[in-house]
Amino acid sequence: MARPPKTLSEQIRAMARDWPAFEAVQFSPRHVTWCGPLTPLARPYMVTIDYTLVSGTARPEEPLAGIPLVRVLSPCLEQNWNVLEEAPLPHVYFDSADISRSALCLFDPAMGQWSPADLIAFTTIYWALDWLQCYEGWQATGRWFGGGRHAPRLEQAQS
């Protein structure tokens, strides 16, 4: 039996309890943005988490609808074309308007690793820390040690 989705209030309460350094701004009854620091290794990063509670089933034409989207505010994510793996940025949903603000790809939607029934405070935040840690490793070595996969390219998916 599917677990019921967490309400926005439940998400906000859990974040305030577990990650008090994050500030929440609720723009609408169904949307919240948190902003706060994460320190994966030594240096802190300022990140935002956008989350919109959607109703109904997932829509393939909007793959990012209803999932928490983590973006790095500062220091800006740096593109690197001269790396062995994952150029120019590893495991993000590329945002063509501003690549450095691309949302981090923290879980595989095909594997059911996250649902609105999960607390962001206990999933997304830790996964963002993991991503940032691997990102620093990628910056330092040119290799992505965190594993994962990419969505197939459009032309591959259509063939």
Binding site: A14, D18, P40, R43, P44, W127, A140
Partner: protein, 427 residues
Amino acid sequence: MNSRVLRYAPLPQALALAEDLLIRTAIRIELPPSLHELAVRRFEAVRTYIERDGSPLKDRVRIFYPQGSMAIRATIRSRKRSDGYDIDIVAELILDPRLTPAQILDLLFVAINGEPGSRYHGKVKRQSRCVTVEYDDDSRMHLDITPSLLIAHDDPRLSQIFHAKPEEPAHQHRRLIMNSNAFVEHVRAATPIDLEFRQRYAKEAKRYEERFLRIRADADVVPVPSHSTIEGGKSASIVALQLLKSNRNERYRSRKGVRMPPSVMLSRLVIDVARPGSSLLEALARSCQHIIDTLQAAEALGQCVDIRNPRCEHDRFTDRWPEDLRAQRIYIEDLLLLRQQLHVLTNGQLSLPEMRDLLAQMFGEGPAQSAIEDIAELHGLAIQRPAIAAPARISSIAAVPTSARISGGRAPSHSFYGTPWPGRPKR
């Protein structure tokens, strides 16, 4: 149990990462345990060779023993010789004390070099105080064998060694008093047993050796065991000494023809301030400061520092360095820089690439990059396989989350995803 054993206290996150990186860097610059065993076998082989029939030193070797870094397990890659390892050995000989310094050094050279076509012929070099045996294999090892004569039978290993630069006139050749054996005993007695640090260091050293090192020794040596955790176990002070020596080598690498501060002086000063239960960071920072203070105190008096063997007053560790106040000032500046770099390394404001660049400046590019790659890979593995503990694990600036405590500290597993890069930008 030694009463000086203390616990190795947990460090805050930025310090823990810096400590982790320093440990991995130190492991990459030291003589690995299996090469230590190889060195022991090699110096035993050289001793046997010196005493062969027909050798001018047959029945003339009283004892062969490691000295300096080799004896206190602090051997690191040298500044010269393509970054190989210098293994320091004393050959205590039974010879007529009226022989000149040059005669004694030449005798040892002839005994090891042997006839054309013999085992070491052509691989031996006469230095001003020792004879060097080179090995042209992957071990990149050199044995520096210093001949000595025992002075007093009632004071074991109180000896003479000899200085005779071939190009210098004989009146400049000289005899020096030394007791390296007593100094090694002093170091061992004064070095605290940092049990937890020692276990952690040994574990990492073993892992590194098993994973990365493939030593191909020459045929005259029996294959060595891959590792002994006992050989890999060291106190934080000894590892700090390795890092100080590596930093010194790095600073002096480009200073051609300039004599470096001697390792034995650094050993003495590091041991002077060894404390039990230290982290590597603490031991390194404390040692660095003590050396700065010692050199600056001499400088303030307008003098060159004078450091001696605490067990043998005539054994002067600083007889060849510093040559003058300027040489002393150069190293003071180096240590002030190191102190500043340590501060930056631990201030919690550096990314991993920045830490790599800083470590490369401090201890060399190769060890720094390798240590960083190791950390990055281990973190990645810990994410992919949560049963593996990550080094220097991770939290937010915020307090440890309640939910993390309740759940035992692990979020659900996940795997990264993402869209492929849609295309290279137009140039």
